[in-house]
Each structure stands twice: as C-alpha cells, then as structure tokens.
Symmetry: C2
DNA sequence: TTGTAGGCGTTATCAG
DNA sequence: CTGATAACGCCTACAA
C-alpha cells in the first residue's frame, strides 16, 4: 500500500520500515527513506502482525497463567509483566487457572494454540508435574512468584522472609508462635513457613503450623484453631495479608487484643496493610518487580539462553499489629496513642 | 500437513476441520471425514491462527482497557470478560491506563495495531472525549463499569444503588449525611452520589459531598474533612469499599465509634467487606456479571448490531457498619455482641 | 464428493 | 542501492 502510493518497491519499504537506523542508512538512499517514511505516516501504515507472524514464525505473544487475577498479589505481578512486555514490544494473554491442574493444562494448550512464543507460569505447584511436562515439550517458559523443580523462576525469597518475621518475633519475646501456612502446594507458603520454623528451631522452640486457604475466611478459621491451643500463641504469622486480616478478626472475636495480646504479621505488604485500622506488620515481596524480572527472564529463555533463576530480597515492615505504638499510619492526627484507645477495657478471653 | 499424511486434498481437510457438523456431512464422505479427523488428532494439528487471521481479516482478539488491574473491582470485571471470551473462542489483551487520557489513546492504538476485532473500555471518562473518537473511527467497542455519552455499555445502576443507601440511612434516622464521591470523571461515583443526594433532597435534606481518590488513603482523608463539618455527619456513604475502609479508620482516629456514632457504607461488596473486623454495609454491583455481559454486547456490536446498553440491578447488603448488631460474619463464636465490645469506652471527640 | 489455484501482507533470497 | 519473486498456512471460488 505504501509501496504503490510512493512508487517504490515493497521490499525497499520493508527494509526502511523494519531495519535498525544504520541498517536503513545502508539500505536506501536518503530521499527514498524520506519518501517512504512520509507515505507511511500519511497513510498511518501499521504492519499486519498476522502476516508478519506467519512469515517469521514468531508471534511476539506471551501467555501468562495465574491462579486468580482478582488476587491483588498476582494482579500486581501481572502489572509488572505487562509493563515490561509493552517495553519489549510483546503482548500478553492472562488466564486464571484457579490452581486446578486440569485448567492449567487447558489454558496452556489454549495459549499454545494461539502460538505464543513463551509462557509465564504463576501458579506452579510444588510437585512440578505440569511444569515438567512443559519442559519436556521444549516450550520456553519461566515461573514467577512460585518456584518448582529447578526450572527458571523469579521469586521473592520466602525463606528469608520467614526468618525476618522470626527474628522480629523473637526479639519481641514471643516464645509461643503459630503459623498460618496457606495452601500446601504453593512454594510461597512452604518457604515462608520453613524460614520461620527453622529460625525458631535453632532457638530451641517448636512452633504450631496450620494450613488454610489464602484468603480472609481461611485465615480467620485457621487462627481460631491456633487460638484454641494451650499454651495459646502470643504471635501469629500468616503467609498472606488477607489471611492475616482474617486472623486479626479471629483474635478480636476471641476477646483478645490484636497487637497486644496476640501479635499478627502478614506477607506481601498489600496496600491495605498500612491502611488498616490496626496497621499490619508485613513482609514486602516486590511483586511488581517480580513481574518485570520474570518477563526479562522469559525473553532470555526465548532467545535460547539458560538464565539462572532470580530470588529477590524481601523486607520486613513493622507496624502496630506486632509492635504497639509503632508504625502508625502517616498523616493521622492522633499519633502513637491510637492503640491503647482501640483496645481499651476489652474483656480478656 | 494433515493432508499429505492422509493423502487427501488440503481443501477437503479445511472443509472438514472448519465446517459446522452438517456442513461437513455435505462436504465429504464419511470415510474421508474419519480419516482426516484421525490424522488431525494423531498429529495434534492446530490451525495456524495467523494464517487464518491473515486470510479472513479477523483476529478473534479483543482489547480491554482498565484503569488498573490491581483494583479488585476491575480485576473481577475482567475475569468475567475473560471467562466469556474463552467460551466465544476469543482471546483478550488487558491493559492499564491509570485513567490517563494519553495512556488510553496509546494503549488503544497498541491494541488496534495488533488488529483486535473490538475493544472493551472500562475506564471511560464522563466527558466521553476518547470514546467519541473511537466511535468516529467506527471501531467496534463497548463500555463496561462506567458509561459515557450514549455508547453501548454494561453498568450496574449506580443511581439506584445510591438510592438504596439513602433509604437505608433515612430509615435508620440519619439526617446529617456525608458522601465520599470518588473521582469526578467517573460515572460510577457520579451516579451513586446523585442517587443518594436526590433521595435525600426529596426528603428536604441536603447532604455534604466531597471528592477523593478511589483508594483507602483517599477515603481516610475525605472522611476527615467530612467529620470536621458541623453539625457532624452521623452517616457516611463512600462510593467504593476501599474508600469506606479508609473512612472507618478516620472515624476511629477521630475518637468516634464506627457503626454507632457514625454509620459507614461502601460500594461493590468486595470480598473483604464481609470479613472486616467490623463488617461493612455495601452495595453489591455484580462485577463479574458485568464483564460477562460486556463481552456478549461486544460480540453483538462486532456482528454489526446496535444493541441497547444494559444496566444491572444493584443490591444493598446491610452489615454492622450501619446497623450495629446486624450482619455479623457467619461462623463467629461471639454473635451480635461484638460491636459494643469493639467500641467500649472510647472517648467521644 | 474432490481437486486446483490464487491471494491475504510480510520477509528473505537472489538478481540486477 | 533497488527490484522481482517465492513462501509462510489458510480459505474460498471455481472447476472437474
């Protein structure tokens, strides 16, 4: 189209429109380049991506599998992926798998039938069955958020995150601790739990671990179970902020003062954590960065590389839920005197 | 590929693999059909979507624009879109625009350059500037969540939602009411606010309206402004659950009892609303359904139709934040006696 | 019922 | 430096 209008050959047009700046210089005369660029702009020409993909056998598409996009953690990871993908000229499909193996396979096939150049898998299970299949089929992919087997992955160091919480709890004098460990198939929960458990064990202390769904209701129910144990935990670590919020509610419902009678820490430092009535101690897990790095890693895999996995460093954010009087929300008019007021004369047990 | 293996002509293969059941029956002999199907399965043949799109000038791709995917409301709408799209054999791209007009245009162009067959726009501004441009360019699109101009849209009736809250507040005896109205360019906040304001006006009462960001911090700050007014509001309606959570915090920080001294209602009935320590009254807005319906509407538009917009019905869910003693979280061991305990002997003002 | 041929818009190769 | 040509895989009108 550009070619006809400008009276130039198609191949020249292609060379000008696609080549790197200096390649263009070598490929066509200055006038021809100007002419072609002019017509392309005037007709606002866009190369047809389907024709291009057909010819080059590259779609510049990547598929992304997540357990659930309405989980803010994964949504934020995906935002990172999407940002980075746009910068690389790639487009992304996201799909929910609800952590169900059959859906993982079905969605992956769907993506593959769309001829994606690679896959970012955010819902790997620790048994690695599904990802091993993908690897056996030589499909370029990376894992994000969770790791499995020794496939390339970008994660945030959950083991270290768990230790950070353990150190904080120990320094605060907690010797009876409970962990709400999330789903048993997710490396995130496994690592975070192991980090805390190991650190406590080195101090000669055993902690109670219960599993739960990754949401508020799951955390509430799991915390109830922990609070029934004797001696009762004085600190609870939930491997997810939403579970931690549920735990806060359970503590309150049990007639105890969250933050005072029972310290509660979460994970991921969700935007809500700092804004809760009782601000929540949490471990920042650099979710957006994980997405950005995962896409970079995938690009490297797609280019035939065998890049090393990346493990980002977590950061503990201490707030009032584990340190009464600390970590008040900025901009509050009342200052550190909030907590006593929030918890005044609540009957014990 | 299938053709060579089976020793059949390519066009016959195409006919068998694409045609509707009875078209196939008319197009090839039973044996040939079986033969072709057999080989297709054995080679797990997938038609190349790029070749198909090139030939048919249809990509089966739809672009989705949202303000921000890490907002659970839009994430849930998108889940609905994605579910429905998969059922229609369509694939979707989502992109964040952060409610910035330049990003809206840039992302729409990106989608268009990918040759999407249509667009679902979840971030329309009430001035309709951007969507009018799209319409002028004859691009098939529908709006979701927000409406603008008289372009086809799927929304939940915010005006009615606002009225539902107003009725509930009036029945509870609130005569001094504040509204946290969200961003002024979003039809959602505008309609919800208008519904409440109109209903109160019909009762001869004026309400205070303040704008804010749609997040927790915005709601906190806006509530502080409302609570400084005299006479002080006894009820606050935030057009978004996250803003409502911020408002709950502000009420508490002001030394008042949320739910008792100041009723707080939110909007969207986010999963968190029912799980908060003080369960939040909210208006359910059928976000997932909106996504599903929006995709159906887009399909109709892409087929050349001019379908009418859809307005789904909202539902008020009353909980303890506006009705102390009501709406306790199911499964709690303490029953309706929670609220007095939560708010005991907090100093007034 | 089956086969043939042309073209969708690119890019790569080869020749001028 | 520029132009012609083939091929990517699919669909469809037309012919047999």
């Amino acid at each position: 189209m550009v070619a006809e209008s400008a009276g130039v050959d198609v191949s020249t047009v292609s060379r000008v429109l696609n080549g790197s700046p200096d390649a263009v210089a070598r490929a066509a005369s200055t006038e021809t380049v100007a002419l072609i660029r002019d017509w392309a702009a005037r007709l606002d020409y866009r190369p047809n991506p389907h024709a291009k993909s057909l010819r080059t056998a590259r779609s510049n598409l990547v598929g992304v599998l997540v357990p659930r996009l309405s989980d803010i953690v994964l949504a934020t990871v995906y935002e990172g992926i999407e940002d980075a993908a746009a910068r690389h000229g790639l487009a992304t499909f996201v799909m929910n798998t609800y952590d169900r193996p059959d859906e993982q396979r079905a969605r992956a096939e769907l993506a593959l039938s769309r001829r994606v150049d690679g896959l970012i898998i955010g819902d790997a299970h620790s048994d690695a069955a599904f990802v091993d299949e993908m690897a056996a089929r030589k499909i370029p992919f990376v894992l994000v958020s969770r790791h499995a087997g020794d496939h390339p992955s970008v994660t945030c160091d959950g083991y270290r995150g768990g230790r950070l919480v353990a150190e904080h709890f120990l320094q605060s004098g907690h010797e009876k601790v409970g962990v709400i460990a999330g789903e048993p198939f997710a490396s995130t929960g496994i690592d975070r739990t192991a980090g805390l458990v190991d650190h406590y064990r080195q101090a000669g202390i055993e902690v109670s671990v219960v599993h739960s769904a990754f949401d508020t209701a799951g955390g509430h129910e799991a915390a109830e179970r922990l609070l029934r144990r004797r001696p009762r935990p004085t600190a609870v670590f939930a491997v997810n902020d939403f579970a931690a919020i549920g735990a806060l509610g359970a503590v309150r419902d049990a007639g105890l003062r969250p933050g005072e009678d029972v310290a509660v820490a979460g994970y991921n430092d969700t935007p809500l954590a700092s804004e809760l009535p009782l601000p929540l101690t949490s471990v920042r897990s650099r979710t957006h960065d994980m997405g950005v790095r995962a896409l970079a890693l995938l690009v490297s895999v797609m280019e035939g590389g065998e890049p090393a996995s990346e493990r980002l460093d977590p950061e503990l954010i201490v707030r009032a839920s584990t340190a009464p009087g600390h970590g008040r929300r900025a901009g509050s008019p009342t200052g550190p005197r909030l907590e006593p007021r929030m918890t005044a004369v609540r009957p014990r047990l």
